[in-house]
Each structure stands twice: as C-alpha cells, then as structure tokens.
Symmetry: C2
C-alpha cells in the first residue's frame, strides 16, 4: 500500500495527464478552426483555456499543500517541484493553442493559411496531437525510452517549421505580407508547443534518472529560435 | 538579526536581481548587434546566455536546498516557490535576448531590420532595458506601486509591437518577405521579454499582497498573441 505522500503524488500525476488531454484537445480544435476558418470552434478553444489554467492552479495548490504538510526531502521533494514545472509547461501549451485559435478568429471569414501551406499546417497539427498524447503516456508510464522518442517527434516538428520558412523565403511567395506574418507566428506557436512537450518529457527522465538532458543543442537551418528546448 | 531562513532568502533575492542585470545587458547588446549587424557582439550575447542559465540552476538548487533543510510553511514556503518561478522567467528573458542575437547573426553582414523599422526597434530595445531595470528594482524593494508601474511599461512595449504590425500591413511594405518574417519574430521576442518582466513583478505583488493580478486581459488590435501575460 502506498503512503499518503505517494498517493497525493499519484493524484498530481493524474492531473498532469488530464492537462495533456485538455492541451491536446485545444490544439486539435485550434488547428481545425485555423484551416476551416471556423469562428465558433476558435471561440470555444479561447474560452476553454480557462479550464487548463484552473487545473494548473489546483495542481500547484495541491503541490504546495503537499510540501507544507509532508515536508518531503531529497527525491520526493524534487518530484513535487518538478510536477509544478510540468504544470507550467502544460499551461503554456494551452496558451499556444489559444494563440492559434486567435489567429483563426482574427482572419475570419478567411483562413489565415494560404493553400500552399495547408498541407504543412495539417502535418504540424497532427504532429502536435501525437506529441501531446505521447507526453501524457510518458507522465503516466515514466518510461525513459518513451520520453526519448518524444525528442524525435520534436525533430519532425522542427522540420515542418523549417518547411514553412523555406516556402516563405523561396522567392516565389505571392500570398502577401499578412499571410507571411500569420504563418510565421502560427509556425512558431506549433514549434513552441512541441518544445514544451519535450520539456515535460525531459523532466520525467530527470525524475527517473536524476540526469537532465542536453537542452540547448543548436539546430542548424534557415529558421531562428529553434533551439528553444529549454526549461521555460 | 535575521534568521538563517531569511538570510538565505535574501541571498536568493540578490541572485534574482543579478539575473535581471544579466538579462538586461544581454538584451541591450542584442539590440545593438541587430541594428548594427555586429557579428561579434551577437556571438557574445549567444555565448553569455550560458551564464544566466547557470545562475538559474544555482538559484534553483539553493531554493530546493532551503526547502529541504528549513521545511518552511505558509508564506515562507510560497516565497521560495515563487522565487523559483521568477528565476524561470528571468532565464527565459535571457533566451529571448539570445534569439534576437541569433537573428542578427543569421542576416550578417546585413542588418535584419530595414530602415523604416529601425526607430521602432530602437524604442523596443530602450523599453526592454527600462523594464528589466525596473524589474530588478522591484525584486529589491518589493514595492507594490513600483511593480504596478511595470504594467504601464509593458503597455508601451505592446504599442510598439502593434506599430510593427501596422508598418508590415500598411500596404506599402516593400522590404520583401524575409524582412517581414524577421521583424515579426524579433517583435515577438521583445514583447515576450516584457511579458516575462511583468510576470516577475506580479509575483512580487503576489508575495506582498497575497493577490494575483488579472493575467489575461485581452488587448484589442491588429496583432495576435499580445495577451501573453501569463505565468509561463
């Protein structure tokens, strides 16, 4: 039988998994809203972000309460602190889905995404969904190998992000400046979403192995800011 | 005389102020590197980000050590947890300065910023410096009114950010897609830098008053993602 501390920690872990579910649902709906110029769907994503924020507040209060009541030390202490960091990442992932929904809303009744980039955005949406599902599985299983597989999924996202820049800078871009600005921002939101997911997975690895993955590998290429895989 | 716990907390607070100093210096040099297409300066900003990351790691270790040794509860506990969140914000501010330096490096020997937007970027650089200096002062003084003044500085940054979009989308943009992409990203980095500074100030207010400022006020306007004043 588990003691009170580890029971509480299990509860926190379940909340984190629930946050991945909400962030994934938000991102999936935001992608559809963006591609279909679906205003109602966009509004629903924007409104629902409140729920992820609430969940984070609850989780952080549980964690602080646990620190105060149980006074954990060593690994137990690090687990609680790390859970709070994961909740910050997951809340941010919800924000990024909301940002994408806002771009959809801003350009309604048009779609912000010109036809030439629709396949790339569809792929980014799928990749984001895959990544956040894997993140939930990793929090649940604490499987280090599964966590490492997430780094590869993030590489796929980075490749899609580069594809956006390649399309924009190919010299044949004829969709105007507004569309260029929109896809630049949207591309960055998807990429950051994946970065935060990887950050969550790295925290799981850290909890299991005590070692923090190399967080600042430079990714060569045309784009900038791809090396965002850091702790924030 | 202060007890061991509050002495340690003072030390952590001093480290946070030092982090604002480093982030401010990085941002100031990144702005110069960007405007002057100064490769060496850009490289030095990119390399120096390591120092901010180190400081954050040290600070977090001090905080975790303090939790383990002193087992604080109630307000004392919240102070330590909040300090760790501040260090995350400040580390991220360093990352954003590094991103700007990377744009400078990517476009060297050209400047990424076309003449029409130089005055706006100069202003954003100044605003960023002002904001981070104020952030350091607020951490030191824990003055709630000073913290609230930071919200206004952030409004000034948001206005500059909108100015970039207005210039891009005025219909008279003739600087090409690459420059549009660069200034879109650079503008976002400055804006996020200010957001994180405001987030630090809000945490100070929270520590003093126990109340968390409204974090999600919508800013109407042409741009997207301006309502990023959240906890991450």
């Amino acid at each position: 039988m588990r003691d009170a501390f580890h029971e509480a920690l299990d509860q926190i872990s379940d909340q984190l998994v629930e946050m991945t579910r909400l962030a994934g649902s938000a991102m999936s709906r935001a992608t559809t809203a963006l591609l279909d110029a679906d205003l109602q769907l966009a509004e629903s994503v924007i409104a629902a972000d409140e729920n992820i924020d609430d969940l984070r507040r609850q989780l952080d209060n549980m964690a602080i309460d646990l620190l105060a009541r149980q006074q954990p030390v060593a690994t137990d202490l690090r687990m609680v602190v790390t859970a709070m960091r994961m909740s910050a990442d997951l809340e941010r992932m919800g924000d990024l889905a909301r940002h994408i929904a806002k771009v959809a809303r801003l350009r309604y009744p048009d779609s912000a995404i010109p036809p030439v980039l629709r396949p790339t955005i569809v792929d980014m949406g799928h990749e984001a969904e895959r990544i956040v599902i894997q993140t939930g599985a990793v929090i649940h299983s604490k499987d280090v190998h599964e966590a490492q597989a997430l780094e590869q999924a993030d590489d796929a996202m980075d490749a899609l992000h580069r594809k956006i820049f390649n399309t924009l800078l190919s010299g044949s871009w004829d969709q105007g400046v507004q569309a260029a600005v929109d896809v630049t921002l949207v591309g960055r939101y998807y990429e950051r979403f994946a970065d935060h997911a990887v950050s969550v997975a790295r925290r799981v690895v850290y909890l299991v192995t005590g070692e923090w993955a190399d967080e600042d590998a430079e990714i060569p290429g045309i784009d900038v800011g791809d090396d965002d895989n850091d702790e924030s």
